[in-house]
Symmetry: C2
Amino acid sequence: NAMLANGNEGGLTRKGSMSTGYHAHRFSDKNAQMERVAALLKEKGFIPQELVDPEVQWFYGNLGIDDVYFQTQSVDTVAEHVLSLYGAKIFAFIKSEHSLDINLERETDEGAVYIHTSRPGVTTLSGTQYEKRMDEKYLDRSDTKAAYRLESYRSSGTISNSLSSSLRCYFISRCQFVKSDPTPEEATNIDLVSDRAFLELATQNTKDIYGKVMQEVLKRTGAVIEVFDVPSSREKRLVIGYRQRTTQGFFSSISDLYHYYELFSSRKYVEQFSNGVTIISLYLNPVPNSMAPPIETSILQVVREASLIYCLPITAFHDLFQLGKLSLQESIYAHVVWIFTQHFINRLGNDYVSLSSLLDSSNPAHAEVLSSLKKRLRSETFTREYLQEIIRQYPDLINMLYVHFAMVHYIQPKEATIRPSLSFQRMQTYQPLTDEEIAEKIKHTVQNTHERMVFDAILAFNNHVLKTNFYQPTKVAISFRLDPSFLPASEYPTKPFGMFLVIGSEFRGFHVRFRDIARGGIRIIRSRNREAFSINLRNLFDENYNLASTQQRKNKDIPEGGSKGTILLDMHALDKPKVAFEKYVDSILDLLLKGETPGIKEKIVDLYNKPEILFFGPDEGTADYMDWAALYARNRGYKTWKAFTTGKSPTIGGIPHDTYGMTTRGVHQYVLGILRKLNLKEEDIRKLQTGGPDGDLGSNEIRISKDKTVAIVDGSGVIFDPDGLNRTEIDRLATKRQMINFFDVSKLGPNGFRVLVDETNVQLKDGTLIDSGLKFRNEFHTSPIIDAELFVPCGGRPESIDLSNWKALLKSDGTPRFKYIVEGANLFITQEARLRLEKAGTILFKDASANKGGVTSSSLEVLAALAFSDDEFEKDMMVKDGVLPEFYKKYVEEVQATIENNADLEFECLWKEGIRTGKPKSILSDELSYAIVRLNEELQHTSLWDNVPLRRIILEEAIPDLLLERLGLDTILKRVPESYIQAIFGAYLASRFVYKYGIEPSQFAFFDYLSPYLSKVNAK
Amino acid sequence: NAMLANGNEGGLTRKGSMSTGYHAHRFSDKNAQMERVAALLKEKGFIPQELVDPEVQWFYGNLGIDDVYFQTQSVDTVAEHVLSLYGAKIFAFIKSEHSLDINLERETDEGAVYIHTSRPGVTTLSGTQYEKRMDEKYLDRSDTKAAYRLESYRSSGTISNSLSSSLRCYFISRCQFVKSDPTPEEATNIDLVSDRAFLELATQNTKDIYGKVMQEVLKRTGAVIEVFDVPSSREKRLVIGYRQRTTQGFFSSISDLYHYYELFSSRKYVEQFSNGVTIISLYLNPVPNSMAPPIETSILQVVREASLIYCLPITAFHDLFQLGKLSLQESIYAHVVWIFTQHFINRLGNDYVSLSSLLDSSNPAHAEVLSSLKKRLRSETFTREYLQEIIRQYPDLINMLYVHFAMVHYIQPKEATIRPSLSFQRMQTYQPLTDEEIAEKIKHTVQNTHERMVFDAILAFNNHVLKTNFYQPTKVAISFRLDPSFLPASEYPTKPFGMFLVIGSEFRGFHVRFRDIARGGIRIIRSRNREAFSINLRNLFDENYNLASTQQRKNKDIPEGGSKGTILLDMHALDKPKVAFEKYVDSILDLLLKGETPGIKEKIVDLYNKPEILFFGPDEGTADYMDWAALYARNRGYKTWKAFTTGKSPTIGGIPHDTYGMTTRGVHQYVLGILRKLNLKEEDIRKLQTGGPDGDLGSNEIRISKDKTVAIVDGSGVIFDPDGLNRTEIDRLATKRQMINFFDVSKLGPNGFRVLVDETNVQLKDGTLIDSGLKFRNEFHTSPIIDAELFVPCGGRPESIDLSNWKALLKSDGTPRFKYIVEGANLFITQEARLRLEKAGTILFKDASANKGGVTSSSLEVLAALAFSDDEFEKDMMVKDGVLPEFYKKYVEEVQATIENNADLEFECLWKEGIRTGKPKSILSDELSYAIVRLNEELQHTSLWDNVPLRRIILEEAIPDLLLERLGLDTILKRVPESYIQAIFGAYLASRFVYKYGIEPSQFAFFDYLSPYLSKVNAK
């Protein structure tokens, strides 16, 4: 695309014989149509006869409507419009004799017409904002199924000489696409994807321009923005292309933008295409005799700020921008810091302080209570409105702080070497202030401590932004890489390694990680109503932080630390999770990749200055987007794209947990461990399972186990058989992933039963009456009917067993009803309930230990992705047409073996430590994680890593053998990023050591542990 | 008003020659006007000539606009209207040929016209709701300054035969009153207060009816509702009168009401009067061929439900009512229980439970933390929207619970002895369910525990309503007297004695008291923004409860226990505190007084069944309404009206605290106590005082003290003089109640200074630079400049001294800077800071002990009010023309002596106990209160009260001597309610005993204490 690449060289616009976008060739039978319109109106008789002709001529003549319109509209429609305009005149006349401000608006599902008087280049805040309505009713909703195109004209000259206002009219009509849902190839062919009306009258030049723009839009994300000269005038033609529904209120906000630079538009076109592309054309002119900078310079400003508008068309400070109190960047900056302060300014208040002085955080029960209280004690002094009020009061401080921000992160666009850009000049006029001076100025400007805290927080924000895509010409959302040292230690005891803040028009989001190499899921949060939104918003960061540190503990076997991403959808975007996710990923990638394409992805200022690689995983609401993210990262040239996400589909090398029962293998290994220790035979152990054959864990649990499963509880109800459910039947369900309402009841034993959730008043054989299946199902795991030694929760709502109902799991004599519990489902039992069950004698392994098979599988999936080159990866790891590559099959088995082995090691360690310390396993499991995590951190500061022969020996054990045979160690070391190798080294040493020597090893334990390796080192 | 009183006897409407409200005498030159209108239109030329005349005739002929309109409107206006209508026709035509739904609306500041098609008796929810807009833009805002009257007509017959819809038109115009602000006498004269247009055409009959209605409205609160027959038709004329701005959205809601009973209105009039009265007339007819009950019955229903609408025109479930899913009562009931559940369903959650198991609530520091945490730990599961969703889902349950409620509190209107009312029949069809059956039904209907908790809470509500004015025909808000036993003890340790819930259209409010005889202020709460409102709403009851129990402790010297009332204004009524207060008082009085005027105040169902008397006091935002409340209670026939409120103006027997420095006397007595104990002379004690000569406490402190005041801090700044401020000068300021910026600085000593809050960069003599006066003032009490032994805070924000800055009150060697602190201002120092100051050696008396002079004064004000008959009261207690009755003067002195004596007794006791136990006085003060309160409670269960001679001896000591000389004991016993006398007896014994024997009296202390009284008993 050489042509376009230099298309933007400094925006020199080409001279020559090209004419405008829509050609004005004469319409031969225009007059004929004119008489038919006039005739139709006369016979309708609403307008006095002698006024019909002048009205029609006026309409045709000097409304500046060009012939395209007349050509496409039927005589009836034109007559209707003339008539409606006449109606509007009557009203205008009645309102007041001497000022004719016409105000016509007609809206239908098929289209709309707006005609009203307006002074060019003035944004009117008062009165209904027409363009905003056009956005909400027609443009924002256009998608490939129902799309609306728009034409807008400004009457040349004025209605009468005494008035300086002219008429502006908008015509919106529904699109008729040539091909409504094109194939991917057709999707780039403009003749197939356009609207019929557009095709008839578009010049070839326009079609070429739109074609090129369209391809750009389809190739990348974000808006494509072009500028063209209109021959023999200072008029500029701005062409903007983007994907439908990736923004809202763009059309009206763009008007505010060029009004800001005192430009007005003579004509505006909005075109929709069936391949999901929207293209806008604006013909811009300088407002006559204005003091604003000349259009040749301001148009460049408009071009670059349009991308900001694309990201955040509406901000809380948009009106200040419209009033000119803030520039666009400043209003967006104000919006950003407004969001920042919402999440970080509410201290925990001195209730928390006096509370933690009374409780001591070293004992786990107290710590548990403290941390869950934290959620509630965030004081509510700074509400969102209040923060807005405060920020609104001091636009100058915002301006000062923005400059402080821009001085660091502003990127100098290359083509501006000849002439400096405008806002750059604005910055010149400020001599930069130091932090103290700014803090001092804030102190003297604000009136009370609240306001001061807000602006100090904004200053802190500036000082902790390491990189941002704020000044990236093309972006879809705004992202910041923050240095987390601003977080107060009293509230966030362990300091995160790195964190991101992403703000988009549909969402805001965070990404927090506790180690350079970290992994964790990306969660999308929907709020069911406004109140719930306020609550989610308030706890957004805390939740993200807690999930990340839980992940940190869960990842004790794998090299990656814990991380987590959260995306909170705004109330008006609850139906756009995918868009939000795509923008989230794209704008974070902006900060991970070095920008190499000037004008599109510039090189941004990087205060962190070390390469960062992130690893995303599936979580609530994002499980289906993992493929997209990986492939997209590849398109962006993200080197480790193969390892970017896990939970991918096998076609791109993903190892799905549920197909190979990765989590289940861990869970089942604990069960086998218990049986081995107490030498029991699996065949005659009776088991209760929550979570049915349709679930990921449920189905695999059924397939892998050989015990007597006496009961299964799932979304559809309860199936129970004291002599053990018929194994072939439940296997059948598990293979088909069907719930137990498909269970063939004829295969139930003599006193088995099945109760579904929508049944009521069911009489069981032993006479008990069940008045609602739903309740029966919800509380089945606490009902005395079951008689089982083993309970493996594979599904069910979190906290199903808590302080209020754990006693139901004990027999009357206080001994436990389920002697062994392996907790597959996350937090099925609360920590407090676990402790009490263990004290009552239950052998229980909590979720953090039992179900971490998934993370191991994901981690090895990543390692393979990092170690293979693309084509090796394609050959050995990508499943084509359902045939699994030989390597893939063997690798999956090795992953499974590793998971089982890890589960064994931890099981043995917990069992041994349990006997040694007598502590409950639910505590030991946490202590184990801390010990491994802490050990791993200490490892980073020792010289072990520098001992290369030792390093290689450890790595040969830590890296799966298949990869070693396949690629050899040296290749792996060359390809996998060193920080990742270091993480493997640390995690392997730390976890193996702790599993072998427990949580209180003697001083020499580590030495004894290393000796065999050292002797191997010396043997070489 | 004999005529009207029997006006309503069962609503028989009189036959005879009276005609309708607005007489239809022929308009002679109607046709002449018609030609001029037609002529004007022709020459304007918008309408084709041949259509002008038919348009004008159509307009005059069958829009059903009667001649009043034509008479009052100018030719221009009529022409304008015809023209606008023509314009609207054009649009209607364009929209669609075959259905002409005209839609004309013109709105100006002077008036408005709405003409549109509508089917009679149908409430259309979709589309803009015209009447709602008329309410918001014109009617709700009408007050004596700018008022709008309204006429509405329905076209008789239809536009064309094929259509069944007719035209409805509204004409709104601004009123021209004959006298715009009448004197009170003129206020009842209808000729002076009406609008000119109304006068010209109102029949004498209308003026009489309106005149009577107007007087009723002016006499009492609430709506006056009348029904008249229209001769020779089944049409009913509904006349409703009320005060402007005492409700909103009434006009549109009343339409929903009669639509509910399938009535439609042919004409509607809304008249405004300059005496602040609004009168509405509706001509109602049954919708042709409807199955609804006949208008003769439903009109009665409309009459009685109109008063509910007056109270709550808009509820959260209004749409269900409009859709007919709920009756009006049910929707209002649903609204009420919605509010109830908002305040009482959020448990504190099991964080609080596990927390209080970790902290032990017996030690005050822990208890302090627990109670302030309570505020935050109210869980946010049930948000308002969520509760609404849940209640919306089960209208049947609402219906069932409403019936359960109505079965108890429904009052049988007398005139219905002939025919039972409708909703009464509705109730007949239900056989009443018992509580268990209802609980059972709820259990089976709802799907999850959340929904169940909501409806169980509603059931609990029903079972704890002791009385309500829900079925009172005339009311201004809805009030409930609740039995507080539904409050969970874990959250509210001491059970209140009684509580009220009041719901009005501008507010919701509570009143809680801990003893039958209790007193406390009524506080109005305004929220600065929506978020703040949510927060205030959530904590409303807790705050009310805590304030009441603080009051309980503060009232230890007086017979009354603690109580408190809170009124939370809705966001849309932040500017109507007075209206909210009046409705609050009025609807509570509904529950205290027995209703004696059938049809207006019926006798309500009373499950409590004992007389209740309440005592209100001033608080935030209600200080100016105390007179009104007392006089209003008198008008309502509230026997103890004189004692109903305190803080009244002297003209009605109030003893203003600030004039006689009631609080100050207590405060000053503690200072004198300290000086006496340490035998120091007041003249050479140096004092710092916060709160200036303009304040209540500040001015009196200056007047009463003779010490060397070295510094005063107030709203305007700081005045300081180390040699003592010039006494005459500050006395001058105190008398004039001026802030210290009026201090004559020439009278400052050589190294005194004055710094005002709006000064910056002030250079003091000793060289220190003050860069902002505001900050200097805010932190002056902690600055090392002052050198004073005594600090008496008489003003300043609460918690000015807390954990973070109390150290500033110590010298470098750890000894206190102010050796003695007597805390006049409420909570100037936090409890934790007090304890640390005392530990550092400060002699400190906290607010609960030092500034309770006010409550004593109020209590004795009440006693006098209860003991005097009206005319004695008038002679001895009411100040006329500024001359104080002799008794009043002496009584004030006795009140002051009592306050000083109480302060002395408590001071001596605290001093003695301080030495004995070594505990800090801030703790002793609380223990003292508990001891007195607890003792008083134990007293109620002993037989001491029954020992009549002992009782009389005690009462002779406890009751002020002046009252005894004036009235003698027996008269007082006859007049003052016995429960109040008992309270005097108990409080006197308890407080005197504890003051004499301290908080840990020996077993015999009480016996020794009573012996002298018993010997007196026997001596007789």
